[in-house]
Amino acid sequence: MPKAKVYITLKPALLDAQGRVLQSALQQLGFESVQGVRVGKYLEVELAPNGDPHEQVEAMCQKLLANPVIEQYRYEIEP
């Protein structure tokens, strides 16, 4: 069963309010090397073995999983 691992993050130009708080929290905990944190979403999508999984996952991302106005995405497909 092919499995798609989909990573969705806010576009770099957008301020990530959660990421900013986590960055500050990490720095306060002594992780002074932290230069930035971006919070995203990780999804695992299990697919039936027929069809082109890349084509299907690309369409899913465009139609529903990501909002192209604010988000970017990438994915890997495990056979």
């Binding site: 959660q18 708080v21 529903l64 106005v69 604010i70």
Partner: protein
């Protein structure tokens, strides 16, 4: 006038909207179930209400935009029908592409539930023509994802066309970050489409229709009939 209120699983301002339309404004109000597509041409106004449709799963409005009633709503809007999206309704209209941009997490990361002030930026639309330009209204908000964002080109277009109908402001109408409850771009509280028949806003006019509830400033917005 007939006015409709769409109901999704997780809508929670549908009854407030229904009450405002029927009991306050005297319209013939009706609930519109999300799963039933229908001809909306006889309606003078359709409200996409606030709440947490589909539990805000994935993103607010991401699932609701694919509900069957949304096909009917898009046809209705394309023919010039008046659509008002409030709070989660605004998020749904953006997800559906009926309005540009998107609504993201409040800068404070806090759910903000309080009365705010908004300034009428364009008083020449079906929703705002009963207000004076620059008039300051007190209307409540209740949201965690209300920070409006869009790209620079869209923002320029919104400004140039007068599509920004409401901006958060101080009680005297000044624009200031201190009075922007969610960090919204350019203090945007509500925008319309290019045809001005679709309005999305985070503040709840349906909760500001009677002085008994703290403010009646939202009533004129709904008085489109």
């Amino acid at each position: 006038m007939k006015a409709g209120v769409i109901v999704f699983p997780g809508s929670n301002c549908d009854r407030d909207a229904y009450y405002a339309l029927r009991d306050v404004l005297g319209y013939e109000a009706e609930y519109l179930w999300h799963a039933e597509p229908r001809d909306l041409s006889e309606y003078g106004l359709v409200i996409v209400p606030g709440g947490f449709s589909y539990g805000d799963y994935l993103r607010p409005g991401a699932i609701a935009r694919f509900a069957r009633i949304m096909e009917s709503l898009c046809e209705y809007a394309a023919r010039g029908g008046l659509v008002l999206g409030v709070c989660n309704g605004f998020q749904i209209l953006c997800e559906a592409g009926l309005l540009p941009g998107a609504l993201t997490r409040n800068l404070s990361l806090k759910f903000r539930c309080k009365p705010v002030y908004v300034r009428v930026e364009n008083a020449d639309t079906p929703f705002t023509r009963r207000y004076q330009p620059g008039e300051v209204l007190q209307i409540p908000i209740a949201h965690g994802d209300g920070r409006y964002v869009c790209d620079e080109a869209t923002l320029s277009q919104l400004r140039a066309n007068g599509q920004i109908l409401f901006r958060y402001c101080s009680p005297t109408g000044a624009l200031d970050d201190a009075w922007n409850p969610n960090g919204s771009t350019d203090h945007i509280a509500g925008i319309a489409n290019e045809g001005f028949n679709v309005l999305g806003m985070m503040p709840h006019p349906e909760r500001a229709c009677e002085l008994l509830l703290g403010s009646a400033d939202g009533r004129r917005l709904l008085a489109v009939g």
